[in-house]
């Protein structure tokens, strides 16, 4: 009697364990399937970038070049070749002009954001000052407004300053975006008060505390806004489209789509080279990026700072 009870219990445990295992594998399967869908564009672009001109025309000429009547899907190129990349490298100087335009525009914005947004986020996280509530509200409002709404204001200033159609027209407004401040504020607000108190007792001034404690401890958050900023401005379309007219100043995000129509053989390789810097930065900084996003998603912060 006693023994059979024990057996029963053991069998139950086994069944529970089996069920758990099954569930685990089901969940893994679902998540990995979604992952495959998410990563499919990158995979397919890579595959097509390794095709020769003939094969690209054969498989997707129907859509991209009005030749052939059917599109085909291939998961591996039949004749893999790097010719598209070589062609891109050797005979498309415009592409590289656009590449450098993107680089200059993005690094300009990031450098500026580092100098402007980091101290501003520190001010919102660690200081009390008159007008703070209303300013925070204003910054949030500026953050949620789409570019097209603030575009008119920007245009009026840039036009008056004679900056239209220069690189500064894209870079300057980008520097003062309030989104990084919003994201970084929470990282700074999460720094334990004891550390700052201790530094104050040791006689450190507010600038020293900011440079010596705030910046080193807020590094994950700072990295994360820089990575997010890179992804955002590497991908910027609205700003250069409205503020730049000169072809030679256009960034990749605008040049690439034009190129697809002219030269479909190199288009996929060009797409891959375009996304390479962004994807590489993403992979290098993924941990920081996650930490930074997580800090902005956790409790206490934006709403609490309004309550003060």
């Amino acid at each position: 009697m006693y023994r059979s009870e024990g057996n029963k219990a053991r069998r139950n445990i086994k069944r529970i364990r089996y069920w758990r295992n099954f569930r685990q594998w089901m969940l893994r399967g679902i998540l990995l399937a979604v992952c495959v869908v998410m990563a499919a564009p990158l995979f397919m672009l890579t595959v097509y970038s390794l095709m020769g001109r003939q094969e690209v025309l054969e498989t997707c000429g129907a859509v991209l070049a009005d030749s052939g009547d059917q599109i085909r899907m291939r998961f591996f190129p039949i004749y893999p070749t790097l010719r598209a990349y070589i062609r891109l490298l050797l005979d498309s100087p415009e592409y590289f002009t656009a590449f450098w335009n993107s680089m200059i525009q993005t690094t300009g914005v990031l450098a500026g954001q580092f100098l402007v947004a980091v101290p501003a986020a520190w001010a919102f996280a660690q200081f009390r000052f008159p007008g703070k509530r209303i300013l925070w509200l204003l910054y949030m409002l500026l953050m949620i407004l789409p570019f097209q709404v603030t575009m008119v204001s920007g245009y009026l200033v840039l036009n008056a300053a004679g900056l239209m159609d220069t690189r500064a027209a894209v870079v300057l407004p980008g520097i003062f975006s309030t989104l990084p401040i919003f994201i970084l504020q929470k990282t700074f607000a999460g720094i334990p008060g004891e550390i700052i108190e201790a530094a104050q007792i040791d006689g450190a001034g507010s600038l020293r505390i900011f440079l010596g404690i705030g910046i080193p401890l807020g590094m994950p958050g700072i990295f994360s806004i820089l990575i997010l900023g890179f992804l955002e401005y590497w991908n910027a379309i609205e700003q250069p489209m409205t503020y730049l007219k000169t072809q030679a100043l256009q960034p990749l995000s605008l040049y690439l789509p034009q190129m697809v129509n002219q030269e479909i053989a190199a288009a996929f390789a060009a797409s891959i080279v375009t996304l390479l810097p962004a994807v590489m930065i993403f992979f290098c900084g993924q941990d920081n990026l996650e930490q930074g996003i997580m800090a902005s998603g956790s409790e206490f912060g934006q709403v609490h700072s309004l309550r003060q």
Binding site: L32, A125, P146, T242, M294, S296, G297, G301, Q302
Partner: protein
């Protein structure tokens, strides 16, 4: 490491440098100068111009506003934008929350899953647009697949389904970001609370309703806000896929402003911008008010 981090994150928000002086402004100054110069002060000019005539500088009162509100293009664009927000925002948030819950249950592959989900964020619109063309063109993959099953393909971007193409783009791009936000919010809720509730006989729904939801309030706000901000950015995909004048189901306020800008229709732009700022400010303060009161 993770525990320590969680401890830091859970700490209540306390400004330490509490002197009620203007020192904060020293740190804020560069940013304030820039936003003042590029947005706030010119906005006053925008406000002024919204009451003026296009030619000459006569004061016309609310004439420009009336013109915008009765403009069919504006009505169409506003309706589409609201529709996109009302449908896609909840869809994205629920889907990402669901996935975050799943990811928390799973062991062993979390890192892979997070990488896979976040990856679309890094892919520029310009690169991925070719891929979307291959799928959604009249002769594209989607059409082919449907043909195989006996249906007929169509140009998805030139019909009402363009809306759903855009919705798919938006969700594809932002799913990972939102999921990470949810993971942060869910991770900050102490496990003990669930255990205590379960001991007292609370079911799954009760746990969610009385433990998870109240403590997730701010995460919901932040996720909603950032998803809202990112929703305006689908304009990039929409523009690259379908140009200045896409199918009317995806003709958004962004397209409209862009076309007004090209035609230098400053009067309409200024009036519409003022209205949108007031609307956004109103909604934001209502939401924040509700959040701070409770």
């Amino acid at each position: 490491m993770r525990r320590q981090q969680r401890k830091i994150l859970r700490r209540k928000w306390t400004p330490i440098l509490q002197s009620r002086d203007l020192k904060g402004y020293l740190f804020l100054a560069p940013s304030l100068l820039g936003t003042g110069g590029f947005v706030l002060i010119p906005f006053l000019d925008v406000l002024r111009r919204s009451f003026l005539q296009a030619v000459g500088n006569g004061f016309v009162g609310l004439e420009n506003y009336k013109m915008v509100l009765s403009n069919t293009a504006f009505r169409l664009a506003a309706t589409n934008t609201v529709r996109f927000m009302a449908i896609c925002l909840p869809m994205l948030m629920l889907l990402s929350l669901f996935l975050a819950v799943l990811v928390r249950e799973v062991t062993g592959i979390n890192r892979w899953v997070k990488t896979g989900f976040l990856l679309p964020m890094a892919i520029p619109a310009a690169s991925v647009v070719v891929f979307f063309q291959l799928i959604f063109d009249e002769k594209g993959w989607l059409g082919r697949i449907i043909e195989i099953f006996g249906g007929a393909g169509r140009d998805w971007l030139a019909s009402d389904s363009a809306f759903w193409v855009l919705a798919a783009c938006y969700i594809w791009k932002n799913l990972g970001y939102d999921m990470i936000l949810w993971l942060a919010g869910l991770g900050a809720i102490p496990e003990e609370q669930y255990e205590a509730a379960k001991v007292q006989g609370a079911g799954g729904w009760a746990c969610f309703r009385y433990i998870t939801l109240p403590q997730l309030k701010e995460t919901i706000f932040v996720t909603g806000l950032l998803s809202f901000v990112n929703a305006f950015r689908v304009f990039r995909e929409a523009y690259l896929l379908a140009g200045d004048y896409p199918h009317e189901s995806i003709y958004m306020l962004q397209h409209l402003f862009n076309n007004w800008f090209v035609n230098l229709d400053i009067q309409k732009m200024t009036a519409a911008a003022v209205m949108l700022v007031i609307l956004a400010g109103g909604i934001l303060s209502i939401v924040l008010g509700a959040l701070t009161r409770t």
